[in-house]
Symmetry: C2
Subunit: 400 residues, 2 copies
C-alpha cells in the first residue's frame, strides 16, 4: 500500500496521479489527480511507464475488445480472459504467432477449445532456423493447433454468438479472439517532452539509463537497450531486463554510475511439450548487422541414447567467419533446452570463439544428455565448417 | 571387429595382445598373445589403459567377488550384477557413497531391495556445502536408503544365503554386496617403464598429453589432467575428459600440438528424484589450493513461484576474495540443476568475476525458473557479501 511505502520505505508513493506533461527545462512534471491538476518538481526523474499491448488497426476490433476479443498484458486482461472462458467458448482465434500467442495456445487447448493462430508474417518464429521452426510447427500440429501464417486479418465482426474474422485466406469463426500482436513502449509522454526515441519507438537511453534530457532516466519496458553481440540499440520488452534496469536506474538516480549490462537476445518459452530457447543473433539479424556468419544445425538425444525417456534435441549454432566468434544459438527439444541456452549466453558475454565453446568441461550423466553435450558437438561441427569455408570461396551463407 | 578397423579405417587392431613391458629407450613394447611372446616397435606410443574398480583390502572380499559381492565398472560387471539380481536378493549393501554407489542405490531400490550404504568418510558428498548435502541425505531417506557414514567395513563373510558384514557400527547382513569405492588408474605398466606418475597415481601428462618419456603419450582414465581453477594436476576419471583426451592424443601422435583444455571439476548425477551438479572447487579444495574464498548458499524455486510443479533449487556459489573471481558452484534440485551448472562452467572458463556472472542475460520463462535465475540471485548476494567482507576484518571463512 501507499502507506507502507511511505512508512516502511520512506517512498512518497502517489497513486491515482497521472502525469500529463514533463517539462525538462523547468525540472517539473504536470498532471491530474482526482480531477485536480498538480505539479511537482524533481532533481532527477525516472520514467518507468512500461509497455502496453498493441491494438492493430483491424476494422471492428475496437468495438469487440472486452466483448469477445481480448489482449493479454495486464492482470486485468488476464481476469477478463478468464471470465470469457467461463462462458465455455468452443473456438479461439489467436491473432499473432509470437511468444504470447503461442503460450496462450497451450492454455486454450488445455481448456478444450479449438485453436487457430493467424500470423501476418510469412512464417512463425522467424528467429529460428528452418529445421528448428519445422519442429515447432510439428508440435503445434500434434497439439491440435491450426496455424495460418502469411495470412492478414482484414476485419472482425459479431456473427450471432460468434465473431467472424475476414482474412486474406477466407473467413474464420470463433467465440473468443485473443489479440497477441506484441507490445509497444509507452513513450508518448517522453516524446512529447522532446526526449529522443530509440529502437522500436522506446525511449532512447545510454548505458547508465540516461535519456537525452538532463536528469531524466528511463527504465523498464518503455526504454531501449544495447545488444551485446551486434552492439546495436534494440527494444527487448522482457522481464529480466526490465527488472534489472529498474534496480540500476534507482542507484543511478541517487548519483551512481552503474552501467546496464547488454541484452543478448535471450528468450525461452514453453510450446506445449517442447522447450524453445534462443540467444544472440538470428540469421536475419546477423545479416542485418553486416556480419559474415555461418551456422550449423544438429539433432541429438536429450539424454544418452540408452537412457529411457527424453527425445530429440535440435540445436542451431551461428558464428562469424574469420573471427570465429559465436553469434547466437537456438535450441528446441522436449527437455533441457531452456537451461542449456544459458551456457551460450555466458559464452556470448565472454565473447568466446567456437573453439572456446568446444573446450568447456560441461556436465555429463546419462539422464541429462550424451557424453558430448549437443553444444560441444555443434561447436565441433561449426569449427570444422568455418575452417573449410575460410579456405574455400564463400558461396553458401549457411552450412547445414 | 578387428577386420573392419583394418579394412575401413586402416588401423591394425590386435585383440588378445597383452603388453607386459614398455621399453622407452628402444621404442619397443613386449607382450604375449595366445601364449606366444611378441615385440613391436613404435615411433610414438599412446597408453590408454584406462582405470579399474578399486578393491579395498577388506578381509573376506576377494573370496566373495562374483559370488555375492560385485564391483561395477565394466560391461561384464554389469552383467554379473544383473545375473545376481535375478536370484531376487532381499537386501543390498553398498560399500562406498560416491557417484556410483549413490546411483546404484536408485536402481537397487527400483528392484525392490532394502539398501544400506556404508561410507568410511565421516560424511557423504564432501564436495557439497552443508545445506546441499542435507538435501541429498533427505532425498536418500525419502527413497528408503539407509546411510551409515563414518562407518568402516572390517570384514565380509558368507552366512548361509546371506553375507555378513562386520562394521565399526556393528554387523549388517545382505544377500548382495556392491563394492563402489571408486576407480584407480591402470598405470602400473607406465610406472614399471619408469614414466612419472601424477595426481591420484595416474600417468603424469602435460597439456599436449605427453608423458615424461619421449614419444609416449597417455590419454583417458589412466592419465591425469589440469584443473582450470586451481591450476593443479588432478585425477578426474569421467567420460567427457577421457573421450576428449583420446581424440586430442590421436592428433598429437601424428604430429599435432593441440592442448587439452582444463577440467573444471564438473560432475552431475541423478540421486533418486534429485539432480546434483557441481563444478570448480569445493570449499575444502579452495582451502587446499590456498585460496581465500567466500561462499553463499541460496534456495529458490525451480520454477516461477506461481507456476505449478517443480520444487526447491539449492545453489552454493564460491568466489575468491579480492579478485572476486568465481571458484565453483554446486546445485541440488528436482529439475534444472544438471544444465544450470554448465553456465557456471562457462563462467569459470571465462574467468568471470561474481559481478560478471550477475550481468548475464539468462533465459527466463515461468516454467523454467524465477525471472532472476538462482545463479543471478546467488551472484548478487555473493557480490554484496564480498564487498562487506573486503571492508571488514576477515573473521568467518564462509558466509551463509
Amino acid at each position: 500500500s501507499a502507506r507502507s511505502f511511505r512508512e516502511e520505505r520512506r517512498i512518497d508513493l502517489r497513486l491515482g496521479h497521472r502525469v500529463l506533461a514533463i517539462r525538462p527545462e523547468a525540472h517539473r512534471v504536470e498532471g491530474e489527480a482526482g480531477g485536480e491538476r498538480f505539479e511537482l518538481g524533481y532533481d532527477r526523474l525516472l520514467i518507468a511507464t512500461g509497455a502496453r499491448a498493441t491494438r492493430p488497426p483491424i476494422p471492428g476490433l475496437e468495438e469487440l475488445l472486452g466483448r469477445g476479443a481480448y489482449t493479454l498484458k495486464t492482470l486485468e486482461d488476464g481476469r477478463a480472459l478468464r471470465a470469457a472462458l467461463a462462458a465455455r467458448p468452443r473456438r479461439a482465434l489467436i491473432v499473432g504467432g509470437g511468444y504470447i500467442g503461442l503460450e496462450a495456445s497451450e492454455g486454450l487447448r488445455a481448456q478444450g477449445l479449438e485453436v487457430t493462430i493467424v500470423e501476418a508474417l510469412p512464417e512463425l518464429l522467424p528467429f529460428l532456423s528452418a529445421g528448428l521452426r519445422a519442429r515447432a510447427l510439428e508440435e503445434l500440429a500434434r497439439a491440435g493447433v491450426q496455424v495460418r501464417a502469411g495470412t492478414a486479418l482484414r476485419g472482425l465482426a459479431r456473427a450471432g454468438s460468434a465473431i467472424r474474422a475476414e482474412t486474406s485466406a477466407g473467413p474464420l469463426e470463433a467465440e473468443l479472439v485473443l489479440v497477441a500482436t506484441g507490445v509497444r513502449p509507452s513513450s508518448e509522454l517522453a516524446a512529447a517532452a522532446g526526449l529522443a526515441l530509440g529502437a522500436g519507438g522506446a525511449i532512447a537511453v545510454d548505458d547508465e539509463l540516461r535519456t537525452s534530457a538532463p536528469d531524466i532516466y528511463a527504465a523498464g519496458d518503455c526504454a531501449d537497450a544495447r545488444h551485446g553481440v551486434s552492439g546495436e540499440r534494440v527494444y527487448v520488452p522482457l522481464a529480466l531486463r526490465a527488472n534489472r534496469s529498474g534496480k540500476l536506474a534507482g542507484g543511478n538516480l541517487l548519483g551512481g554510475h552503474a552501467k546496464a549490462p547488454p541484452v543478448m537476445g535471450t528468450a525461452v518459452f514453453k510450446l506445449h511439450g517442447l522447450e524453445l530457447a534462443r540467444t544472440g543473433l538470428s540469421e536475419t539479424e546477423a545479416r542485418a548487422a553486416g556480419l559474415d556468419a555461418a551456422a550449423v544445425e544438429i539433432t541429438t538425444g536429450s539424454r544418452a541414447h540408452y537412457y529411457p525417456g527424453g527425445g530429440k534435441l535440435s540445436l542451431w549454432l551461428q558464428a562469424e567467419r574469420g573471427s570465429q566468434r559465436l553469434l547466437g544459438a537456438a535450441i528446441v527439444g522436449p527437455e533441457g533446452a531452456a537451461h542449456r541456452i544459458d551456457t551460450v549466453v555466458a559464452a556470448l558475454h565472454g565473447r568466446f570463439t567456437v573453439d572456446e565453446l568446444h573446450e568447456l568441461d560441461l556436465a555429463y550423466a546419462p539422464p541429462f544428455g550424451p557424453a558430448w553435450s549437443p553444444l560441444l558437438t555443434a561447436a565441433s561441427q561449426l569449427s570444422g565448417a568455418l575452417r573449410r569455408q575460410d579456405a574455400a570461396p564463400r558461396a553458401a551463407q549457411t552450412l547445414r
